[in-house]
């Protein structure tokens, strides 16, 4: 770039310009240093992390499944996130990203996702312990096709309130005629994986086991799955320390859970022999995982489940009990798998589009602003460098990931950023047209343009902030890049574009108004220069003469100024085209 011509005298604008440029240098070097430090010590990188749509991988959005009128609290969601994270980590998947977006939990896993891991994530259910009231073989519709003509509501017209208030969870008074009818008519195949089978914790639940072989009528929730601290599988130990060769699942409750479980186990053990009322059911996602019977009173909060377990099945149950203990249950709202090839091709398309867009902008600005375009291009390059560094640092520090929507935001930002320069240049040209010398025009134009740029960029930033706070998903990523580039744009215009113009105004090429400078006063139709220094009227061609006559008909301030000095405010149109 051109250096100031008069270094010795150093007028005020030049000093200011160098100070601004120094600050800009400090900022860029600072960002480089932060990023370099991140690369060396903090696991940072010189390239931003990519989102799944560019990198390939799987994104699963889980929506909470709630009873009517309920909403999930942030605390519940956070808890759900940490539990799902444990599950994913347990399956050995690296770099999974799990967080909340609005009311939903979003799981992003790069690379290919095996079925087992997917199942672990998707069985995002709520675990409940309920006492069994009734159990029986599952009915299928072929057995009883006509008895229930209204299968949607078999309990219509029957009493839904217990006649005698039940005293505890195992009290058969819970079984109202309506509930009995529902239980009798219940079709296990209706218990679809995705459909909700939820009942309020204080009410009984009709459901089946996971194999759809046994159906149950269960009492209200006695112990919540959140109270399970740990669940492991292991061989049953005999009192002498040997093993029986039988697999079992060992559960550890927390304090609350231990107390509650002690009460239940005392009561159920008292019902021993009255099968199925001595059983309690672990209910996961509305289906019964396991319904063991109580073989003793357990007061230490460390029950053991035994049965026909293999090593695998006991491990699976232990995992489900341990990791299935979500505070609320979820359904899969969307599941998105992007192949790595597709991601790469999208990234390429985005980059090519960005590059072509940039070249087009450069060509257009050169046409429009001649040598001044170099300032625009340099400003865009500076803005691009700062944006790149910021995104890399943010993806290291804040886990920001560049998505396709983000890239679109960046490409669009090229146009928005260039607009600040256009506003500025046009204001400088306006000042030149009013007859100011270049140095004065740059300062005066800047004052006006700066105000406009700040006000308009303020609106942009407001839009970005509001969208970022309120919107979800990809809209958020887009708002983020929009806001970031808006701020960077303002920084660049203050610390680079304006200082550069201040310096260039000192050079002969620009101040003499070279026809290629883009700030040629004669091309701009300036009427007089500086204080009372009038420019000699240029040779006005036919066209100019015609326009002059036209102009006389319509008086304006500038025209009157021109008329006052007796010189035609004509332009040397056609001199260079």
């Amino acid at each position: 770039m051109a250096a100031p011509s008069k270094r010795s005298s150093r007028p005020a604008p030049v000093r200011k310009a160098w100070r601004s440029l120094t600050w800009l240098g400090v900022i860029i070097v600072g960002l480089f240093a932060v990023n370099a430090a991140g690369v060396i010590w903090g696991g940072g990188s010189w390239t931003p992390k990519l989102a799944l749509d560019l990198e390939g991988g799987t994104q699963i959005i889980l929506a909470p499944q709630l009873e009517d009128g309920q909403s999930a609290s942030q605390e519940q969601l956070d808890q759900a996130v940490s539990i799902i994270r444990q599950r994913v980590d347990a399956s050995g998947v690296a770099e999974a990203e799990i967080n909340t977006e609005g009311n939903n939990v979003v799981v992003r896993i790069p690379g290919e996702l095996d079925d087992q891991t997917r199942a672990r994530i998707e069985s995002s259910a709520k675990l409940e312990l309920r006492p069994v009231l009734l159990a029986g073989a599952a009915t299928t519709q072929s057995i009883d096709p006509t008895a229930t003509p209204g299968p949607t509501d078999p309990a219509e017209g029957l009493a839904t309130e217990p006649t005698v208030q039940p005293t505890d969870g195992s009290d058969l008074n819970w079984v109202t005629p309506a509930l009995q009818a529902q239980y009798d008519a219940f079709d296990c195949s209706a218990l679809d994986e995705t459909s909700a089978n939820v009942a309020p914790a204080a009410d009984p639940l009709v459901t089946c086991d996971q194999d759809r072989a046994v159906k149950y009528l269960l009492g209200p929730v006695e112990v919540s799955g959140e109270n399970i601290v740990d669940a492991t599988n292991g061989m049953v130990q005999t009192s002498t320390g040997g093993t029986t060769g039988q697999w079992a699942v060992n559960i550890v409750f927390d304090g609350t859970g231990a107390d509650e479980f002690a009460k239940v186990s005392t009561r159920l053990y008292g019902l021993k022999g009255q099968t199925p009322r001595d059983q309690f059911a672990f209910v996961l996602d509305g289906a019964v995982l396991s319904a063991p019977s109580m073989n003793g009173v357990i007061t230490d909060g460390r029950p053991q489940i035994t049965g026909q377990f293999t090593q695998e099945s006991s491990k699976a149950l232990a995992d489900q009990l341990k990791f299935g203990a979500l505070p609320i249950s979820f359904t899969v709202q969307s599941s998105d798998t992007i192949s790595p090839t597709l991601g790469t091709s999208q990234l390429q398309a985005g980059m090519i589009a960005g590059l072509i867009g940039l070249i087009l902008v450069v060509i257009y600005t050169i046409f429009q602003y001649r040598a001044l375009a170099s300032v625009t291009i340099a400003s865009l390059v500076i803005a691009a460098i700062i944006t790149y560094l910021m995104i890399t640092i943010l993806s290291w520090r804040e886990g920001y990931r560049l998505s396709l929507a983000g890239i679109a935001g960046l490409i669009v930002a090229i146009g928005f950023t260039a607009d600040s320069f256009i506003i500025y240049f046009e204001r400088v040209r306006d000042e030149l047209r009013d007859g100011r010398p270049l140095v004065g025009a740059v300062e005066a134009g800047w004052k006006r343009a700066f105000r406009t740029v700040l006000a308009s960029k303020g609106v942009n930033l407001l839009a970005a902030v509001v969208l970022f706070i309120l919107a979800v998903g990809s809209v958020k990523g887009f708002a983020y890049t929009l806001g970031l580039t808006t701020i960077i744009d303002v920084i660049v215009v203050i610390l680079f574009t304006h200082p550069m113009l201040q310096l260039l105004a000192q050079t002969r090429f620009f101040s003499s108004g070279h026809s290629w400078s883009g700030l040629d006063p004669s091309a701009l139709g300036a009427v007089y220069r500086g204080r009372a220094q009038f420019r000699a009227p240029v040779d006005a061609g036919k066209k100019a003469a015609a326009s002059q006559r036209e102009a006389q008909k319509r008086q304006t301030i500038a025209e009157r100024k021109a008329a006052a000095v007796g010189a035609g405010g004509s332009s040397d149109e056609g001199k260079e085209s």
Partner: protein, 338 residues
């Protein structure tokens, strides 16, 4: 070319050449009204295509296919879900996209396997998307909340900055017109309304107001600097400001539209870059509509809102009387040119 636009700019700046944006507002309003009515009617008649994110369903994309044809996909889907009617589209040179109704997770995986076999590609090349019907509704609700919050805040901030709520009102009305026109034209083109398109439309909000603020700032400058001594009427001052920023409006709309147009044409050819394509179409329409609505709608409307104010009416009368006394021709602003 450049110098011609520069000269054009000079003429606009001095007022030698002037477009009558404010005075001829009836004409511009009617054009805008017709455009808005078309924007509402055409999509209603033709029907709006909502993307799979709003309809709910399952979508599969197969990349790197040697011979892209619809047949194998249909057969593969039928194999797994006999009753299904898949929509199969060929994307780019070697991509196939299959959309079906909502499949269960198990079915979805089976279809993925079947498609991979049918096209002879590894399973990792098959992208599957499952979208519940509530997803789109969720995003839309959040977006509308964001939209309303933004409009209220922006109106308030502009009223404070310009020290008149009338600029806010004119800007917001122009913004709403932009929204309707952008959505209307987008839908008329026949592209699906996807979340990416919604992002584009939201950006338009920001862009439209941004552009209006730039022009209004010049109007504020002109009308404030002229003060009581001005020899121009209020509508003439507004019109001059719009003309003086016209070159900027042209340059800005071109510079903003160029990169977006690049995304639109590159994105359209690439497989799976629907996000890019939808976002850029919405942006391209919105940038053009947003820039020109400021000139043809927001500025005339602002002038109209202010003209009735007693102080401005008195001033305008005085200007007109002086002109008559001076025997000069009527104000430039009333003489349309070009």
């Amino acid at each position: 070319m450049a110098s011609r636009l520069t000269t054009f700019g000079n003429d606009l700046y001095t007022g030698k050449r002037s477009f009558n944006f404010v005075g001829g507002r009836r004409k511009w309003y009617s054009i805008v009204a017709v455009l808005l009515i078309l924007s509402v009617v055409v999509p209603l008649v033709r029907g709006v295509n909502l993307s799979i994110e709003f309809r709910g369903g399952s979508q599969f994309q197969i990349a790197g296919v040697e011979e892209a044809a619809a047949g194998p996909a249909e057969a593969a889907v039928h194999e797994v879900v006999p009753g299904s009617v898949p929509r199969v589209a060929i994307v780019g040179d070697n991509g196939v996209r299959v959309q079906t109704e909502q499949l269960s997770q198990a079915e979805s995986r089976e279809v993925t396997t079947a498609l991979a076999e049918a096209y002879g590609v590894p399973e990792s090349e098959v992208t599957s998307t499952f979208i519940g019907p509530t997803w789109g509704a969720d995003v839309t609700r959040q977006t509308i909340v964001g939209l309303i919050a933004f409009l209220l805040l922006a109106a308030l901030i502009m009223a404070v900055y310009f020290r008149t709520w009338k600029m806010s009102l004119a800007a917001i009305i122009a913004l709403l017109a932009d929204l309707v026109a952008t959505v209307g034209i987008y839908a008329a083109v026949g592209f699906e309304i996807s979340p990416a398109a919604m992002i584009g439309i939201l950006t338009i909000l920001s862009y439209s107001l941004y552009d209006t603020v730039v022009v209004f700032d010049k109007i504020r400058e002109n009308t404030a600097e002229d003060g009581a001594e001005s020899r121009r009427t209020f509508p003439e001052s507004v019109n001059l400001a719009v003309n003086q920023t016209l070159v900027r409006s042209i340059n800005t709309s071109v510079v903003a539209a160029l990169p977006v147009a690049a995304i639109l044409f590159i994105g359209a050819g690439a497989l799976g870059a629907d996000t890019l394509r939808d976002i850029s179409l919405a942006l391209l329409i919105g940038i053009l509509v947003g820039t020109w609505s400021t000139v043809f709608l927001a500025a005339p409307m602002y002038s109209q809102l202010r003209e009735g104010e007693p102080a401005i009416r008195r001033h305008d009368e005085k200007v007109r009387k002086e002109r008559e006394r001076a025997g000069a021709t009527d104000g430039r602003a009333a003489v349309p040119s070009a």
